[in-house]
Symmetry: C2
Subunit: 202 residues, 2 copies
DNA sequence: GTTTTTGATTAACAGTGTTAAGTCTAAATG
DNA sequence: CATTTAGACTTAACACTGTTAATCAAAAAC
């Protein structure tokens, strides 16, 4: 009866092969410049085969995004342990977020910069998506900052959403308009993080 | 010899008619959901006619964007006169920017949230684009804030780019993820503006 | 050995932005 | 007035896109 398992294994391998091809192509060429046919060609299968393993093109991306976010989440949780003060931790987290976006611009774009194609998907803003869990980590750090009277006492959800907005702003602008006459990027990133945390202080 | 002029006038009228149709459709359905054929149908011309008046689809949008930005710029310049303190002026300007984005989400998206399709276009980051001129107004207000010792003395370009990043962040997130469990939008917008300006204070 | 299931493919649909070639009308020229 | 010419517009087509229905071959189940 091991034949069924072998088949399952084979299917899983092909599924991963598709994801690998998609990951590489999306990262290099950008989501909307990669066609299903291109992905199929890369793995020497017919385009329609992909549809036996994934609902549609956007599902490919959603899988890859969860993958990436799970990595970002790990990074966040690691930071939480290796930092001295919660403020230090928060700043390093914000840094990590921006770096993450700049390093995976195409995945970042489709995660946060284009309308979700399936907004009714229960997974999208669900409580156990990687994005949500990452957000919860930020909130807990903010809470610690308030407890230690580093930040003045305000709603932690509001603060976290505000922080996210600011940090998303610089990340997305640097991604979309790399040729804009920015001042030195690192200095700008540093400045945004400093300003926005400074504005929260007690 | 008035025949040439009449022809020119006719051409200009059709050009405007195309822009009107595009403006309405883009605003309602979103740039990428509107095809050249749809625009053509709306004005009862063949799709190819549009190409006699505009380079390609993206040029339609660029024209409409300049239009909108010119309105935002007027708003900014008006504010500069009717405000008491430069800080008050700055905050109102940031508010106006966010409202502008939320009111014209489809135009905002293509201006700031998708890769420019012709980044080599000299008009794009040129010194007399509406976007650039708007940015210059912000810079002048920031400068005034520093002069009056409201803000501590830092590079005005850096501050302005940072402000833009933060404000763009909240704008774009509210546009792209309207279904995210935000706290009260107005409160969040208010909070971001307060935090980010607060962080710059002397 | 026959039937059923499964995995993959071919062909097609309906749509996209865009271009080359052709048509048709109204003005300019002889 | 007749003919040429210039300009505005359209038709047909190309090379794509995501996606689906129908088909086919091979392996598994009976």
């Amino acid at each position: 009866m091991g034949v069924k398992e072998r088949r399952e294994r084979q299917k899983e391998i092909l599924r991963q092969e598709i994801l690998n091809a998609a990951r590489e192509l999306f990262a290099k060429e950008g989501y909307e410049n990669v066609s299903m046919r291109k992905i199929a060609e890369k793995i020497d299968y017919s385009p329609t085969t992909i549809y036996l393993y994934f609902e549609d093109k956007s599902e490919l991306l959603r899988c890859l995004c969860e993958e990436n976010f799970s990595r970002l989440l790990s990074r966040f949780e690691a930071l939480k342990k290796e930092c001295s003060s919660p403020l230090d931790c928060l700043k390093k987290g914000l840094h990590a977020y921006i770096e993450f976006g700049i390093k995976h611009p195409n995945h970042y774009r489709v995660s946060f910069m284009v309308h979700p194609e399936h907004p009714d998907d229960p997974d999208h803003y669900s409580n156990d998506s990687m994005g949500h869990r990452t957000f919860e980590v930020v909130k807990s750090i903010v809470e610690e900052c308030i407890k230690q009277k580093i930040f003045r006492d305000q709603d932690t959800t509001m603060i976290s959403q505000g922080l996210w907005a600011a940090i998303h702003g610089i990340t997305s602008l640097l991604i979309v308009h790399p040729d804009f006459p920015w001042i030195d990027r690192n200095r700008l990133i540093e400045h945004v993080i400093e300003t926005v945390t400074n504005g929260l202080k007690a």
